[in-house]
């Protein structure tokens, strides 16, 4: 067992979300509805991968063996990725893309606000740096939720579908793993359970402003934080890992 195993796991838990969401956003490049959204989505992907690097570099340092940021990013088995199911959902259409993003951004922003207060100075510094980017992400996706929800009939109906489908993945954002609990106790981690009510209040406000119905379903999916993903994940990883798997132990 690693010396700082819980801290290591905690960092990976944060970073995997950005890794997988960044990968999804990176798929969109050149295929968006307008040049401005193409640029924005590329930029968001870039921000997320930048954050991922900071986290994984820190995790690699903590692990204290020879592993690198790329080993962590690209050489784990599917069951070892602990991102929430929300971020791995596919780019079905622009309504799904923006809804997925919005539902994550709101959480991400609130989470980073708290992480800034972490007693772990590296994490707090990463949070402070990242929150500026993420506040832009949240603004971007919030604007699109409003535009599409309160746009045309067609866009409204696509948005409602996306919200209804993706809602089932929101609850997992607020689950605590054992590592999370240990880190909360140590004053390092964020107790996300305390963010939950505010999250749903804020999300509901935006949805209502966007003339969308807030789903009432009480059935939620989970598993990502335990490494049990959806069937989409395997395909995503096959691409993400391809070069490192096909050309092992090389420098790029």
């Amino acid at each position: 067992m690693m010396k700082h195993e819980n801290l290591y796991k905690y960092i990976i838990g944060i970073a995997d979300n950005s890794l997988i969401l960044g990968q999804r956003m990176g798929e969109l490049c050149g295929h968006g509805p307008s040049l401005e959204t193409d640029i924005a989505c590329t930029n968001i992907s870039l921000d997320l991968f930048g954050q991922v690097r900071s986290y994984y570099q820190y995790a690699a340092k903590i692990a204290g063996d020879n592993r690198t940021e790329d080993d962590i990013a690209m050489l784990r088995k599917e069951r070892e990725y602990v991102n929430v199911l929300l971020v791995e959902q596919p780019n079905t259409d622009f309504a799904y893309i923006m809804t997925r993003h919005f539902l994550f951004d709101m959480y991400h922003y609130m989470f980073l606000q708290e992480l800034q207060k972490s007693q772990d100075l590296t994490l707090s510094a990463i949070a402070t740096k990242s929150i500026k980017e993420v506040s832009y992400h949240l603004r971007f996706s919030t604007d699109w939720i409003k535009r599409l929800g309160d746009g045309t009939e067609e866009s409204h109906s696509k948005m409602q579908n996306a919200i209804d489908d993706l809602w089932t993945y929101t609850d997992e954002l607020f689950h605590l793993t054992d590592a999370d609990k240990a880190m909360v106790k140590a004053g390092v981690g964020v107790d996300v359970t305390k963010l939950k009510d505010t999250y749903y209040t804020k999300v509901s406000e935006i949805l209502q402003e966007a003339t969308l119905e807030v789903p009432e379903s009480k059935y939620f999916q989970k598993g990502g934080k335990q490494g049990i993903h959806t069937e989409h994940m395997g395909y995503l990883l096959a691409e993400l890992q391809y070069m490192q798997r096909a050309y092992p132990n090389m420098e790029w």
């Binding site: 050149g30 307008s34 870039l46 599409l148 045309t152 691409e239 090389m250 790029w252």
Partner: protein
Amino acid sequence: MSEEQIKNLEEQFEARIVRDDKIEPKDWMPEKYRQTHIRQISQHAHSEIVGMLPEGNWITRAPSLRRKVALLAKVQDEGGHGLYLYSAAETLGISRDEMFEQLHSGKAKYSSIFNYPALTWADMGAIGWLVDGAAIINQVALCGTSYGPYARAMVRICKEESFHQRQGYEIMLKLSEGTQEQKDMAQDALNRFWWPSLMMFGPKDDESPHTAQSMKWKLKRKTNDDLRQQFVDQTVPQAELIGLTIPDPDLKWNEDKKGYDFGPIDWDEFWQVVKGHGPCNKERMKARVNAWEEGAWVRDAAMAYAEKQQERKEKQAV
């Protein structure tokens, strides 16, 4: 306007260009100048946008996080270049939607190089090094072109492009220092992109009818063949430095002209690709047209929302 007045304006216009004055959007300009600039600037913009596709193809598979971030930044820059250039073209009285329509209908062209597939990671290196390298040679000249908005866009773009080129060369360098597989990958990318890169400078001078007019307007400051020679002379030593071989058995230093002689370009291939029959022409257009068509409801929604917001504001004002 009388013929004489027009002639007068034309003379003043030509004189300004000779003096290296910039022509600005509100200035009078001959219709042919306007049309030629719309064609060239929009073609340039389209090239940036279509150029995002082969590189976009490797974002999800970049071999390291560092490279992934750099590639994303590069592709984002290209989108940004597209934006400046569309804006520059818009100052000449054409809308971005019209330009997209011309692209999608095949009326407007984009750089043929993007009709070649990006097949391996080394292609990200080769595209940066060779394609951006060739582009810069074309573009540096344009920083002093006569149309102000275009010239200013070029200054900004050139700076970023030369960063991209260094980044591409550095990918190749790293591969050439790597395993045999990596060296082979780099050489293979060079083999596939070398000749298409030379074609980027366009047909030979004697088959390039617009050259004289473009030179006058400083849309061109050197001929296609001159620029191509400059590219070869600049690139050959770079290849040598990292142990890669230019795939041209006729390549030879010519002491008299202080430059390299090189073998014949396959112009049949050039024209085949220009006419729409390259390896990826259909794919690229499909990708752009699909993005546009599938995005229609999003653009419509954004428009509808903006109108509603406007109405709400007006109501509140009443």
